[in-house]
């Protein structure tokens, strides 16, 4: 529990980053979507689908005192493993390994916020090791999707440490994915494999597949 009420962050950002079009790359954005569906959050908590954006996210970071980031991260662990990092470890880790474009972007945003002296005091990264990111137009693999409730619990626990209660319910937000990209619509509308090649190039596939 926090030492005193005085330390509690007032403005909190819950940010999902990643690309919903590339299978498990969408983990972060889907977590934020699920958070909005399942919890009623107070007004000082903002939910944001950050996509693969870079500098556009800077103003959102700057106005927050504490940030929870959901993201698919290559920790080098078993697929579907959740891992939580805090504060100074967040940018350092995101810079150490990158899996896709957006991590470079977001690492730079954090670095920029630091240079400007406006990086949030508290950063918590809730990351999940992806199983598959090379399935173009695909959605989360079950092993990753199944971890969303746990990832949300970790976020709820973090919010509680910051003095915020997340009750079961819903949160309305305009800052989520467009309806056509919401998870169910996205998955149901997927073209079949005969119509649209789904796989990546050989460099990312075992020789025998």
């Amino acid at each position: 529990m926090p030492a005193s009420h005085h330390d509690l962050p007032r403005r909190i950002l819950i940010l999902g980053i990643g690309n919903v079009l590339w299978a498990d790359e969408g983990f972060g954005v889907r977590c934020v979507e699920a958070m909005a569906d399942r919890f009623a959050l107070p007004e000082n908590v903002r939910l944001l689908d950050g996509g693969t954006q870079g500098l556009y996210l800077l103003p959102f970071l700057e106005e927050a005192e504490a940030v929870i980031i959901f993201d698919a991260i290559d920790f080098g662990l078993e697929p579907g493993t959740l891992h939580v990092l805090r504060d100074g470890d967040v940018p350092a880790f995101m810079g150490a390994k990158k899996m896709s474009l957006h991590q470079t972007g977001f690492q730079e945003v954090l670095s920029t916020a630091q240079l400007l002296g406006r990086c949030p005091d508290k950063l918590t990264l809730i990351g999940c090791q992806p199983a598959e990111i090379e399935d173009f137009g695909g959605s989360l693999r079950p092993i990753v999707s199944d971890r969303i409730p746990e990832a949300l619990s970790a976020a709820v626990a973090e919010l509680a440490r910051w003095g915020v209660e997340a009750r079961p319910g819903r949160t309305e937000s305009i800052d989520l994915v467009d309806a056509s990209l919401a998870r169910a619509a996205y998955e149901d509308g997927r073209p079949d494999a005969a119509l649209a090649c789904r796989s990546g190039d050989e460099r990312f596939f075992p020789e025998d597949s």
């Binding site: 079009l21 996210l57 305009i174 789904r198």
Partner: protein, 597 residues
């Protein structure tokens, strides 16, 4: 062994090979290989997109009215431009006319993105190729203040104390060891020519640009309802207007339009008082470094954009000029028709795709995306760890688009060369003024620095165009027209069974086209030809090289193992590989590898 390409370049791959992979500070992943002679001069260049592109297949079978939301996701920079291009393609296919207000609002959003991208590109991604932030620590703040007052007398932030504060902040940041933004720099390379005071001034403006860019995008937030993923609508714009409304949410009212107006002023002042003066000041120290022209003096193309009147894309009605120049003939600007199957075609002879037969070109309406990854016989390494590419074979995930068979450069410099050749009043005035100020001939435009300068001039010009459309919107509303969308053909039952359309824009980095085929209310085929596909194009069957490759030739490198000059020229295109190829890296390595063989 030297060879001459049909488009007029001499290639010699006999010297030392240098591999840069990935090229950093760009969107997406790109690799570059060059050969240098004994004097360190580049004699051969090979540019390759190292990621597969899977976008087109994802939207197949989807509702065309939703395509914008998908294409908005393919890039971390030009979200809105892709969305706009998409809704234009769908409207073109379905014959939908948008209202005047929607045209003005879309133009303001597109211009906000253009201006934002240009400013961010220069200060955030490109300045570090010319400016040395580490050297700025040695600057005398008082002398920096004097320099600033000389080059941008109208900019209020110029006291010695201000520069001292920034220098201290920078010092703290560098000493903390984070370096983050400035890592991977070659800070003691003699290719950096600025005195410390110019470095400090430019670095300070980099910080100011960070604050400015946050304001610039609010135009997208206001009209698009949110950011970083604003809403778009086939048939118009999704924001209703209620000019007498109150509050900061809901329909667009006068309060929010006044806010937009103040942001337009901010952008205009920054471009005029800071951005252009910085480019002139920095460029002044690099006047002897006029390399990197490549295709720009031979073949440039622009689709044009920012229509004065809704639904009228005729060349003379566009604020950004349309046209093509080939064979270096600036006396003749040819018209570009994206519908003509003989004009724009994509080839894959040197790309990791197959059309089933060699030398075949496909117009985007008939485009295919069938991957075929294979290395040539002279490639070194393995498929998963390529040491050296064989450019005589397939070597890139980027297709080779051609206009009437010509490799073309696209982007701000192309737009400006076309505008200049057409005698576009604003563009010609700006260019002549800049050349006069810098005491340079017109030929100096055909260079890396020319690309960088054209972008700065364009940003400033576009703030004026943005103001024009703001005034136009207000005037139209005052005349009683609050319409922002045409929903007559919203319902798919009103659509033809089969149709096709094309949407064009000028993205910050150049000509962008989306070609769509709709059948039974669903997307049958979708092809994007993005600016970096043009600029980053590999060779074609005839051996013509693309814009990146051409631009690197004949450039001397101070230190071949430190590719400052390669990065400088490639960055001047503002390359964005995220949408020209698929987003993925083969391994987790972050640092650029530079290999000299």
């Amino acid at each position: 062994m030297a060879i001459s390409t049909p488009n007029g370049f001499n290639l010699d791959a006999s010297g030392k090979r240098i591999v840069v992979d990935p090229v950093t500070r760009i969107e997406g992943h790109m690799r570059c290989e060059v050969n240098v002679d004994d004097n360190g001069v580049i004699t051969n260049a090979v540019s390759t997109g190292t990621m597969w592109r899977g976008l087109e297949v994802i939207v197949k079978g989807r509702d065309p009215r939703d395509a914008w939301a998908f294409v908005e996701r393919i890039c971390g920079v030009c979200t809105g431009t892709h969305a706009l291009t998409s809704v234009r393609a769908v409207e073109d296919a379905l014959g939908i006319q948008i209202p005047d207000n929607a045209n003005s609002i879309r133009n303001m959003m597109q211009l906000a993105l253009q201006i934002h991208d240009h400013v961010v590109h220069f200060y955030h991604l490109h300045a570090l190729d010319w400016v040395n932030p580490v050297n700025a620590l040695k600057a005398d703040p008082k002398a920096t203040s004097e320099l600033q007052q000389m080059v941008s007398p109208s900019h209020p932030l110029s006291s010695p104390g201000y520069f001292r504060d920034v220098q201290n902040r920078l010092k703290k940041f560098v000493e903390s060891g984070q370096l983050g933004l400035f890592k991977n720099g070659y800070w003691d390379n003699p290719a950096y020519k600025l005195p410390p005071e110019a470095d400090l001034m430019a670095t300070t403006h980099y910080l100011e640009a960070l604050d400015l860019q946050k304001e610039l995008v609010k135009i997208q937030t206001i009209f698009g309802g949110k950011n970083p993923h604003p809403n778009w609508l086939v048939g118009g714009v999704p924001c209703p207007i209620n000019i007498d409304g109150v509050g900061s949410v809901g329909a667009i009212n006068m309060e929010r339009l006044n806010y937009v107006s103040s942001i337009i002023d901010l952008g205009a002042e920054f471009c005029k008082n800071v951005y252009i003066p910085d480019v002139i000041a920095i460029g002044g120290f690099y006047k002897s470094w006029l390399y990197g022209g490549g295709l720009s003096s031979k073949a440039v193309m622009s689709y044009g954009d920012i229509p004065e009147h809704a639904n009228d894309f005729s060349a003379e009605q566009l604020h950004l000029p349309r046209g093509a120049i080939i064979n270096g003939n600036l006396n003749e600007v040819l018209d570009v028709d994206p519908r003509d199957p003989s004009q724009i075609q994509e080839f894959v002879d040197h790309s990791w795709y197959t059309y089933g037969e060699p030398g075949k070109g496909l117009h985007p309406w008939d485009g295919e995306t069938s991957p075929k990854f294979e290395l040539g016989p002279n490639a070194k390494g393995t498929k998963t760890n390529i040491e050296e590419l064989d450019e005589a074979a397939k070597y890139s995930w980027i297709k080779a688009p051609r206009w009437k068979g010509h490799a073309m450069e696209v982007g701000p410099l192309s737009r400006y060369i076309i505008g200049y050749a057409k005698g576009h009043e604003d563009i010609k005035g700006q260019v002549d003024g800049l050349l006069r100020t810098m005491d340079l001939p017109v030929d100096a435009l055909f260079s890396t620095l020319g690309r960088t300068a054209a972008r700065a001039l364009e940003a400033e010009y576009l703030t004026r165009v943005q103001r024009h459309f703001f005034d136009k919107l207000i005037a139209n509303i005052k005349n009683g027209d609050e319409s922002t969308a045409n929903v007559e053909k919203w319902d798919p039952s009103t659509w033809p069974k089969e149709c096709k359309g094309v949407g064009m824009t000028e993205a910050p980095r150049g000509a962008l086209g989306h070609w769509i085929r709709i059948k039974d209310g669903r997307i049958e085929n979708y092809q994007c030809v993005v600016p970096t596909t043009w600029n980053g194009s590999p060779r074609d069957a005839q051996g013509n090289i693309g814009a990146f490759e051409a631009s690197l030739l004949n450039t001397p490198m101070e230190r071949p193992e430190e590719p400052v000059e390669i990065l400088r020229t490639l960055h001047s295109f503002d390359p964005c590989l995220a949408c020209s190829t698929h987003v993925m890296s083969a391994d987790g390595e972050d640092l650029t590898t530079v290999t000299v063989r």
